[in-house]
């Protein structure tokens, strides 16, 4: 018995190694790099041939970016932005979850929040940013409230659909067997909602970032948004582009380091999707 377990554990380890190698190889030889290389080449050509002299070459931008990273400025400002985003986004998700569950479960609350949510979805993030800076001034409150207001409607609509999609037959099954409420919530309701929560997190987080940067442009003395405005005022195109690229890099790290693995983990019970069209 012990021998068999060891053998199967070893087998599992080998399988995992094979899988990781495979994934790495497919990443290295991916066509996705082609798009990036194309952009770089076109950028280099334009920077060299145009006479405006404003557009820096990729190399200059990379140097500027390296300076930001190596001096630690990038991490300092990233941390400042991140604190605002995480608080605002966290609260936004919480509010969205509450509103979404109410809307999905009760007709009264659905009607009550309907227009608020539609308005919230359609107003540009800039409005929240400007209003919050005017109302709350400089400080943590303005970005947090702006992010909360801008991101919660995306969570609410997703969660509402999730609540409506809960399989009533499974709930009835649990009722027949007198399964207690907390187990039903943990093992029936939450797993049903998970894909919708993940969708909400994905959209909500993007919105949160954008609004955070906007708010920092107007009402902060730290953060990535502040740095963008500062370099804009200096007319330093190089550093601005470097900040933008670093920002993009962070988003990619979050996407492939957190969101995609999380999705894969939570969808492990699903049948593999086949391409049908």
């Amino acid at each position: 018995m012990g021998l068999a377990t060891n053998a199967s554990a070893a087998q599992a380890r080998t399988d995992r190694t094979v899988q990781v190698t495979k994934r790495l190889r497919s990443l290295i030889f991916s066509y996705r790099w082609l798009a990036l290389i194309c952009v770089l080449v076109i950028w280099q050509v334009i920077a060299l041939t145009s006479n405006i002299g404003v557009l820096p070459t990729p190399l200059k931008v990379v140097t500027a970016g390296w300076e930001l990273v190596s001096t630690g400025l990038f991490f300092k400002e990233l941390a400042a932005s991140m604190v605002r985003i995480l608080i605002g986004f966290g609260l936004g998700m919480l509010l969205g979850l509450i509103v979404g569950v109410l809307m999905g479960a009760r007709r009264f609350w659905d009607a009550f929040f309907q227009d608020l949510v539609v308005l919230g979805l359609s107003l540009p993030g800039l409005i929240y940013a400007l209003l919050c800076v005017m109302i709350f001034g400089l400080g943590l409150t303005a970005p947090v409230v702006a992010i909360l207001l801008a991101s919660y409607p995306f969570a609410a609509v997703n969660i509402r659909e999730g609540v409506r999609a809960i399989d009533k037959e499974l709930i009835d099954m649990a009722r027949v067997y007198l399964v207690n409420r907390s187990r039903v919530i943990r093992q029936v309701i939450l797993p049903s909602l998970l894909p919708f929560i993940l969708a909400a997190v994905r959209v909500g987080f993007t919105v949160a970032w954008k609004v955070a940067v906007l708010t920092e442009v107007f009402g902060a003395a730290t953060g990535i948004g502040y740095q963008l405005r500062y370099n804009f005022q200096l007319f330093s195109m190089r550093t601005m582009v470097a900040w933008a690229l670093l920002f993009g890099a962070v988003m990619l790290v979050i996407e492939y380091g957190i969101l995609v693995p999380a999705e894969r983990y939570f969808a492990r019970w699903r049948p593999k999707i086949k391409e049908v069209i």
């Binding site: 037959e169 027949v176 029936v188």
Partner: protein, 257 residues
């Protein structure tokens, strides 16, 4: 003296607003003895599934009494096998069975039972699989194992084999009988298939169009029962003729009104 596992008396169940009610069960009364397998047949719309939903507590009823086992509903009173498997897709098979662990039963004990009944329904070795990795028949077996693992007083089954192909369904019937003879649970089995009802049951209740039991037939054919036995064929013919009689009565009634 045997006490009844289920006692239903003057049960009335209706849907809709007062004044515009549609009465589905109208003064239904019957007892079911411990350890018996009762099949219930009836035309569609006669309230077969509604009856099970009332028995299981999913649906409230208007008047009358429904008593299962001792009276107070507890987690070991009922198992329910549905028309579809109703497994939680994100839990593997063993965890699906653990999901309905009754109060007071230790986790380890229930796991032992789960494995035992999975073996009994022929699902040994698939404990770690997710439902989508199993065929429809295997999923239905898992649903049956879930119901059995509660070790309930009464197992309610709502057309559990009607979605399966006939070969699988026939296999499942044979196994259900074997399991029933091993465990001696009280089983209420709903079906629209008269042949299935006669093959499985000790007793057959036929629901009519007015929410009442129109036939209460004791089935004393020797087991195992084969469709080709003369006794079975005769019995079947008799039940079907009673069923047709009920339907023609209904047609006349509708013509008069």
């Amino acid at each position: 003296m045997t006490t009844a596992a289920i006692t239903v008396k003057d049960l009335v169940k209706s849907f809709g607003e007062p004044g515009h009610e549609h009465v589905v069960l109208n003064g239904l009364s019957f007892d079911v003895e411990h350890g018996t397998l009762t099949t219930i047949v009836g035309p569609s719309g006669s309230g077969k599934s509604t009856l099970l939903n009332v028995l299981s507590g999913l649906e409230p009823y208007k008047s009358g009494t429904v008593q299962i086992h001792s009276g107070e509903r507890s987690t070991t009173d009922l198992g329910y096998v549905f028309q579809s498997p109703r497994l939680l897709p994100w839990l593997n098979i063993i965890d699906n069975i653990m999901f309905v662990r009754p109060k007071g039963v230790q986790e380890g004990t229930h796991r032992q039972r789960a494995l035992q009944y999975l073996g009994m329904v022929g699902l040994k070795g698939v404990e770690q699989k997710f439902p989508h990795q199993l065929s429809g028949g295997m999923q239905q077996r898992a649903g049956l194992a879930r119901g059995l693992a509660v070790e309930p007083e009464v197992l309610l089954m709502d057309e559990p084999f009607s979605h399966l192909d006939e070969i699988t369904a026939e296999q499942m019937r044979t196994e259900l009988l074997r399991i029933w003879q091993e465990t001696r649970r009280t089983i209420i089995f709903i079906t629209h298939d008269m042949q299935e009802a006669i093959q499985l049951g000790d007793r057959l209740l036929m629901l009519g169009y007015h929410g009442q039991i129109v036939e209460d037939i004791k089935i004393d054919l020797p087991r195992p029962r084969k469709f080709t036995d003369h006794a079975f064929v005769d019995f079947y013919a008799d039940v079907v003729s009673r069923f047709h009689k009920m339907q023609s009565d209904r047609a006349e009634e509708l013509a008069v009104n």
